[in-house]
Every structure is written in structure tokens, then in C-alpha cells.
């Protein structure tokens, strides 16, 4: 393979995603602005206005209509993208489910922001965690570089004929979306080669072979159609690693379903999604220098849930702290914690697992907080072999 041409530009997370969208050049984009996603739509609109893309932009009047138009356009066989955050995602909620059940390969960057109320425009994962049962594939990005790469990746994953599920590419609101970093950008042509041309199997515009999208299912068929959706998600877990390998081959960038950082011999592991993992990584290195066997596990895909990878990474440790940036209000912790804990039930080993809910509404999380988590794991648990409390709140004024 010849030299891979990289261009490095200082971009915010939003700009990086918009740049990826430019390279993808979707047929249709229907989007409605909401902070902190607005810049994605703004920058992309500039590309449209300057003729750098051929995209048909639909300036819809609400997020509900945005996803509705995306469903219509995708059913018509077009490559479709949109973007949103928080309450925008909440507003389009019913259509989000419909998009997945119609098996439409829509790609949607979501800039994570807290769901109202109270109204708060800053980062937490309550929005996309709330949509975890919708049937969409979910990717969580640590930084702008990942957001850029995952957006391109998402198109391939969604359109794979064995998958055909819509994909959410999540990045932290303001923390990633509005922070500038040096992003290495791929060559336009390489991106186009990777995503290829979209060849839909069934299209509304294929008028000589008319199809009906969204029929009425009574008790006799709904269940089977939902089973098909379940199978699609299970298949996705098997197929995605192949696509990731191809991505690495073409772009030289390594991606896995989960990122395991120094977990092989770790005694204590912290599990975190998105940008917080960056902070954790730094603390892990510090602790390692002091002889503590710490590790970081960062799931990149939340849906489909990469159970095997997670269990393999965690099963040999002694104590695990799962960091959740959202509350399930079940009284038993956040979504990441409950799913991981339940996966560990079949692992054969029984490390201690505790939950730390943090960062709601953009509450900052500092290295000191992470240090505290690790010291809790070391102190109370690994040594004393007992858990003081499973569900903790990190950084809130108790």
C-alpha cells in the first residue's frame, strides 16, 4: 500500500464530524439545530452552500420531522444522515424506533447532552442511554479524532447488507464537540472507496417492484419481525470486527469493540465511556508507576453490547468500578453498571463491582475524583473484601 496521505487540522469535535460528513457526501440530510450539535449542521450547510457536496438538505421544522424525513429518504434508497442531542433525540424518539425496525441504515452523530429537566445544555449520557433499547447501534467516542473516524465507519457498518441497522455516533457535548484538537484527516478518495456506493435492496423509488414500508402487524407477525431485529443486532457483533479490520488496513487506524488499556494483569479496573476515559488513562499510568496494578476498560460499542470482550477484560481482576454518566433511576445504578454486572454473572469469577455515577449535567470530573475511585477500590474492597456501598455518586454535593 502506498503512502497514506494525512492532513492534520485543528478542529472541534463538531467540525470533525462535519468534515467526515463532507467526505461521505450523503444524498439527503434532514436536520434541526440544538446545542451542542448546532455546529455540525452549520458547518455542513456551508459545504452544501459552497457546492462541496451534492447533498439535498431539508431544513425541517423539528427533530421529529428530521427523523421522519430521514426515514422517508432512506426508504427511498438514499444515503441519509442527521444529527441531534438530548431533547432533540427525545422528540424524535418514536421515529428512532421506527427507523431501526424498518432496517434503514441512517447514520446519526449524537452530541451527548443532559436531558431536561432541569434544562441543562452540558454533557451527560442520559440522552443516548435512554435510546439504548431502540435497536440502533451505538458508538461512544473519546475524542474528536474518534468522532471523525467513527462517523465514516458508521456508514459502512449501517449499510452492510447483513446488518442494515441505523447507527448513533456519540461524542461528549462541549467537552469533545467544542474543544479543539489536532485531527488527522483521511484522503477524500480513500473515504469514498471505503464507504462505497449504497445499493439498497428495497427502495420506494424502485417503482417497478413496489414495496410497502411500515405495514400493520397484528399479534401473528410482530414478534417474528422483532426477532429478526434481534438477530440483526447479534449478527452485527460478529460482523463489525471484520469491518474494523478493513478500516485499519485502509487507514492505518486500529479500532476494537472495546479498548483495553493495561487490563491484562490489572487488579483494579475502572470502566468508563467517552472523554472521561482519557482522564482515567492518565491516572492508570500514574498508579502503575507507583506499582499499583490498575487498568482501564473503555467500551467503544455499547450496542451491540460486546459482552465477551468486556468479560475477558474484567474477569481476572479483583475489583471493578463502573463509571456511569447517566442515571437509570432504578435505584440500582446506571445502565453501563447494570449491563456489565449482569454480564459478569456468567464469567465464572466474582470480582467486586461497584458503580460511580458522575458528571450529570456537565459536572466536571477531575483526576482527584478518579484517584479516589481507584483508592476506594484498593482500600475498601480489594483489601477489606467488602463493599461499603455499591452505588456511589462521584462529584455531587451529598
Amino acid at each position: 500500500m502506498s503512502t497514506i496521505k494525512y492532513k492534520k487540522l485543528p478542529l472541534t469535535g463538531d467540525q470533525a464530524v462535519a468534515y467526515a460528513m463532507r467526505q461521505i457526501d450523503p444524498d439527503v440530510v434532514a436536520a434541526y439545530p440544538i446545542t451542542p450539535q448546532t455546529e455540525i449542521v452549520m458547518y455542513f450547510s456551508n459545504y452544501v452552500a459552497n457546492g462541496e457536496v451534492q447533498t439535498e438538505m431539508i431544513p425541517v421544522e423539528s427533530e421529529h420531522s428530521a427523523m421522519s424525513a430521514c426515514v422517508g429518504a432512506a426508504a427511498a434508497g438514499a444515503r441519509v444522515m442527521t444529527a441531534t442531542s438530548a431533547n432533540g433525540l427525545a422528540l424524535m424518539w418514536e421515529i428512532v424506533y421506527i427507523a431501526a425496525s424498518l432496517r434503514l441504515p441512517i447514520v446519526m452523530p449524537v452530541v451527548n447532552r443532559a436531558l431536561s429537566g432541569p434544562i441543562n445544555i452540558h454533557c451527560d449520557h442520559s440522552d443516548t442511554m435512554g435510546a439504548r433499547d431502540s435497536g440502533w447501534i451505538q458508538l461512544y467516542c473519546e475524542n474528536g479524532q474518534e468522532a471523525y473516524e467513527n462517523t465514516i465507519l458508521a456508514v459502512r457498518i449501517a449499510e452492510d447488507s447483513r446488518i442494515l441497522l441505523p447507527v448513533m455516533v456519540c461524542q461528549d457535548g462541549f467537552i469533545t464537540s467544542h474543544a479543539v484538537e489536532g485531527v488527522q484527516l483521511f484522503d477524500d478518495k480513500l473515504v469514498k472507496d471505503f464507504i462505497g456506493e449504497y445499493k439498497p435492496a428495497y427502495s420506494l423509488l424502485d417503482v417497478e417492484r413496489p414495496v410497502t414500508y411500515g405495514p400493520l402487524d397484528l399479534q401473528d407477525y410482530y414478534f417474528e419481525h422483532k426477532r429478526q431485529e434481534s438477530e440483526a443486532m447479534k449478527n452485527a457483533l460478529k460482523i463489525i470486527p471484520d469491518i474494523l479490520k478493513e478500516f485499519e488496513r485502509l487507514f492505518g487506524s486500529r479500532h476494537d469493540l472495546v479498548e483495553s488499556y493495561r487490563v491484562d494483569d490489572a487488579d483494579i479496573i475502572v470502566v468508563a465511556l467517552s472523554s472521561t476515559a482519557g482522564t482515567v488513562r492518565g491516572i492508570v499510568d500514574e498508579l502503575r508507576q507507583n506499582g499499583v496494578k490498575a487498568g482501564l476498560l473503555r467500551p467503544r460499542f455499547f450496542r451491540p453490547f460486546p459482552k465477551e470482550n468486556i468479560v475477558n477484560a474484567l474477569k481476572n481482576s479483583k475489583a471493578i468500578a463502573v463509571l456511569d454518566r447517566s442515571e437509570s433511576f432504578s435505584g440500582e445504578g446506571g445502565p453501563l453498571y447494570t449491563e456489565i454486572k449482569s454480564s459478569m454473572y456468567d464469567s465464572g469469577t466474582r470480582p467486586f463491582i461497584v458503580n460511580y455515577i458522575y458528571g450529570l449535567g456537565g459536572r466536571d470530573i477531575f483526576p482527584e475524583d478518579i484517584k479516589k475511585v481507584f483508592s476506594d477500590l484498593l482500600g475498601d474492597i480489594a483489601k477489606n473484601k467488602k463493599i461499603k456501598s455499591s452505588i456511589n455518586y462521584l462529584g455531587s454535593r451529598e
Binding site: 428530521a66 424525513a69 422517508g72 421515529i95 423509488l205 417503482v207 410497502t212 407477525y221
Partner: protein, 678 residues
Amino acid sequence: MANIKELAKLPERLSGGHRLCAGCGASIAVRQVLMGTKDYVVVGSATGCLEVATTIYPYTAWNAPFIHNAFENVAATISGVESAYRALKKKGKITKEIKFVAFGGDGGTYDIGLQSLSGALERGHKFVYVCYNNEAYMNCLSTSTMIMTENGLKKITEVKPGERVYAFDQKTYQLVLKECTGVFDNGVKDVYELSTLHHSIKATSNHPFLVLKRIGKGRYSFIWKKLEDVKIGDQVVTLKGLNGFSKAAKFEFKKVEKEDFKVNRLNDISIPEVSSPDLMKFIGLYLGDGWIREQRGEVGFALPEGKAGREELVKIHAKIFGGKINTTDNNYVYIHSVNLANFIKSIGVGIGAKNKVIPGWAFILPQEQKEALLEGLMLSDGYKHGNSWRYVSASEDLLKSLRLFLQTMGKRVGKIHWQIKPKGVICGKRKLLKDSKYGYICFSNRKPWNIKKHHSQYKIQNFLIDNEYFELEKVRSIKLIGKEPTLDLRVEGEHNFIADGIVVHNTGIQRSGATPRGASTTTAPEGKASYGKPQLRKDLTSIVVAHRIPYVAQASVSHWNDLVTKAEKAFNANGPAFLNILSMCHRGWRFPQEKTIEIAKLAVETGYWPLIEVENGVWRFTYKPKERKPLEEFLKAQGRFKHLFTEENKHIIDELQREIDENWTRLENLCNSTCKVA
């Protein structure tokens, strides 16, 4: 426009075997609409009967690409499909000509679907939206409102349907007389008081007022604004005077004859049949200083010797009435006449000190007679104060009616000022035994504007400066008063009337599920309000026309030729098109399944569902029945209106008929006013 033989040969895009009821209007409408184009069509449908009954997995009745998404978003969904089409066509991936149509029921279009429809229309996607619909709403005035009618000023509660009231002609800005076609009791509601310099009125927040709107440099138009939207400083149209519309009052009074009554004597007296300046002066004097003692048949005046009024009174009495007048007392003048007493009582001026009022019929008198009444009044308790006059009285009703009266004479009038003279104070020659409350108002003549000399300047200050009857006044305040019983009128033609001197809109053609007085206590079902009234809940056709799309039309399945022609125009429009098709549901409307087309025909023939189209803003009827059938025929064919055919509810049918008539007139006006815009 193909003929029916050719249409029948077209391939059916909605095939048979679907599960819609036999006799369902929806499927007929769909099939007729799809005959409007020979091109491929992609069909979208909102959640509803159509979608549910035609796509039961694993079957589909659609021989065309079809998408159902959710309830409220078929317009947004089809926007997406249409955009994908344009995107792919641009890239050369699609070459065929494809048309797009979205079907939505009244729910999926009116309420929950309105946003997505509006967005799609605004963006100008090239698609046809087809809908089925219903419903209404209402607004009102406080029951103390005074209305200017043909027979004088009346309380709104006393106005009867059939009576003529004064209205503002919105084309010529002149005063016209229009028939009041209905009075509606709207119950107790929150009422606000809107006040200008000279007028004030109490109305609900949704009552429309005629407000001046500047639409360009030196260009104005009048728009109806709901009270809740009126701002302080907005100029509302108010009544200046009734010059030219005034006439002398006629009295119908039957004198008592000697044989009718047990009297000692019956004084001879002649009672006038028509009002005159002298009579009005007499009445003015009476209003200020007179009273009646019915038992004695006595009319008295508190006019002491030396007061100018006394002489005037004697003179007039001799001139008009003739007969004896007792001036022996120094302080009082008496006229002993049963007939005069009864006459005065009959003309509605009041009999005691505290209940005098300027009668309603006095408001429409010629200016000369009004001036005479004013003169008489001033001779009693009025006095000049500098350049203006002041009138003092303890009677609140008299002062209020006087204020309105003066306004109709074109005088400048101030507010009523109240004062209390405490007990013990010497007043005149006597000491007050208790606190005495009295009020006064000031008024003066207006300085005439030299309109001819400075016309354009005056026009800038007051757009209606050269109007004989109306003028504009700035709104000074709008205050919440509280809950009051309210009423409203319906006026044919101009649909406005003059209440408390201000031009207000009548109850719209739109009326809510809250039905007129009496109906709410009887068997009139509210239930699914969409079956209750024949009017549009929202005038969806107008809302859609307001989006300035190329084509909007109303159609009915009974007139297939008209419908298919409209569908063709819709599919060929260069932008969004909207078809509003009445859809009969034999289950909900309760009629035999085989009568669907018959009912559809009746809907058109009675004017319930006018067949109109709006092409680029120009309204026209595509079909007008030679003579509209009475609405009753449409109503009695359906079980859902059965309850209207009882004794108590019959009047509702008349009201519904009136609303249909008005809507028809409204449409004709729209056709007339837009036909030049082409």
C-alpha cells in the same frame, strides 16, 4: 381530462381485497385521487383507517410503493422521499418521472400533523397532500355592552335576531346597516376592559377588534385583532356619529280616554306622535329636574322661579302639549295629566330621581334634535365652565348614557368624575342628612379640522379623519375585570357591529362544540366533537392557502369528474398541492353503507361542502348548485344528527343553516376579491 371509459381502464394502484368497510368514503377518494396522474406514484399514509386496513402483514393492497411511518409525520416522511428522489435524480441514478402523494386523516393533518404539514408546505416540496376533516370555536362580549342598532342604542341582551345593527363596511369604510342573524349566550367568562380616550368596552380575550395596520409608507389597511393581541397604542375603529342615518323617533302611545279610567277629571292634552326639537328640549329638562308621581298622574319639575329653564318649560308645554300647567309654586312646576305621565313613562326616560337615562332611541335622532335635548338638560343641572360644559347628576345611568350620547354627537367628552359631599354640609338651602354621591362630566365641541387645507397631514395623524361616521382611537389600557356573563351577535355581510362605540367582530362562522343556549342542557351530544358541527374546526383550507402554495382545493367523491380534475391539477402543480376531501364514514355518521355517494352529493348540494379551488391565491367555485338545498336534507340522512330533530334542538338546525349561508357568502367574497389577482 380523460373520460370515464379511459379512467376505468387505468391500473388500480389500490387493489381490492383491503379491509376498509363497504361504503367507506376514504378508499373511493384515494382511488379517484390516484387517477389524477399516469406517472408512477409513491404513496405515504399517516396512521389511520387507510393505512391499517390496507397493509395488514403479510398482505398489502398497494400496487405502488407505499410507506407508513407514524401518526403526525406523513408530510415530513414524504418530504424525505421527495428529497431523496431529487438527490438521486441529480446524480443520474434515477431517470423516471415519479409523483408523490401523502394521505392523512383529519387527526393526522389538523392537530398532531399540522406542524409537519406546515413545514413541508413551507419548504415547497413537490407533492400532493390529501386530507379529510371537521370542527369550530367562539368569542364574546360582556352582557352590559351597548349595541348601536337601527332602533337606537340597546343592551346586547336586548338585541334580537332579525334586527338590523350598524356595521363598518370594510371596503368603503362607511356606516352600513346589517341584519343580526343570531345572539349567543356564551356563559360566564373572564372579561377584559379595553379603554380608549372616549370609549371603553368589556370583552373576552379572544374577541376581535378592528385595528389599523400600516402596510407601507402612507398605506394602511384594517385587520381584525383579538383582544389578547391588541397592544396599548394600537388604533381601533370607533363610531364618530350617525349623521345621515338619523331619523326622528316615532311614538306609539295610546291616550287614556274619559271612559277608560276612574278619574275625577281628565285634562285635555295632545301627545305628539313624532319627536321634534322642542319635545327633546322638554325631555332634556325632564331628565334633569323632572319626576313623575304615577298615583296622582302628576309630572313635576324642580325649576324655581327665575331659573331660565322654567320659562322654557312653560313655553314648550304650551306649544306641544297644550293644556294647563301649574306654576303657582315658587320652586316647582306641576302638570296634572295622567296621559302625559304615562307618555313620559312609556318613552323610557325613567320616572324617579335616580333612575333617569337617555333612552336608546334618542341616539339615532337628527343632530338638531339631539342638540335640543342637550340644551334642555343643560338648563337643568348643567353649567358652563370656561370653554366647556359640565353636567352634574347623582344618577349613574344618566351620566353613562349621556357620555355615549355626547360621543355620538361628535363632542369631546371626558370621563365621569365622582365626588361625595359629606353629611352635614350645607347644600343649596338645606343641610345634608347623609353622604351624597354625585358625578359630573365635562364636554365641549370639537374644533373643526381644516381638512381640505392640510389633508395629508391630518390623514397621517388619523387615517379616518375625513370619514363621516368613524374615527380611530388609540387603545389606552386593557385591564382584566373578572368573570362576567357574556354574549355575542352574528351579523350578516360585514360580520361586525358597533358595541360601546367600538367596531367589533361578530361571532365567527366558526363555532365551538360549546353550543348555543339551551342545547348544552339537552341531549345534544358533545362526544366526538368532530361529528357535532358542520363547520371547520380550523379553516384548514385557509391555513394552507396562507402558505402560498400553487394549488389548494376542496372536493367530494360524488363529483368524480371535479375530483379527478383537481387531482390532475394537484399532481401537475409546480410545488406542494393540497386536496381537502370530505370522507364519509358510514359507521361514525350512521347511514346505510350503500348511501355513501348519496350523502356526498347532499353535502355538496346543501353547501355544507363547497367545491372550491385556490390556484396561486385566486379562489373560485368549481361547482355551484343552481339552488342550494336546505341543510336539513343532509342532516336528516345521518344518525349522528338525529338529536337535532327534536322540539328543543330545532333551532340549532337553523343556526347551522345560517352558518352554511355565511360561509358561502364568505367564499363568494373571497372569489370576488381575489379574481383580479392573477
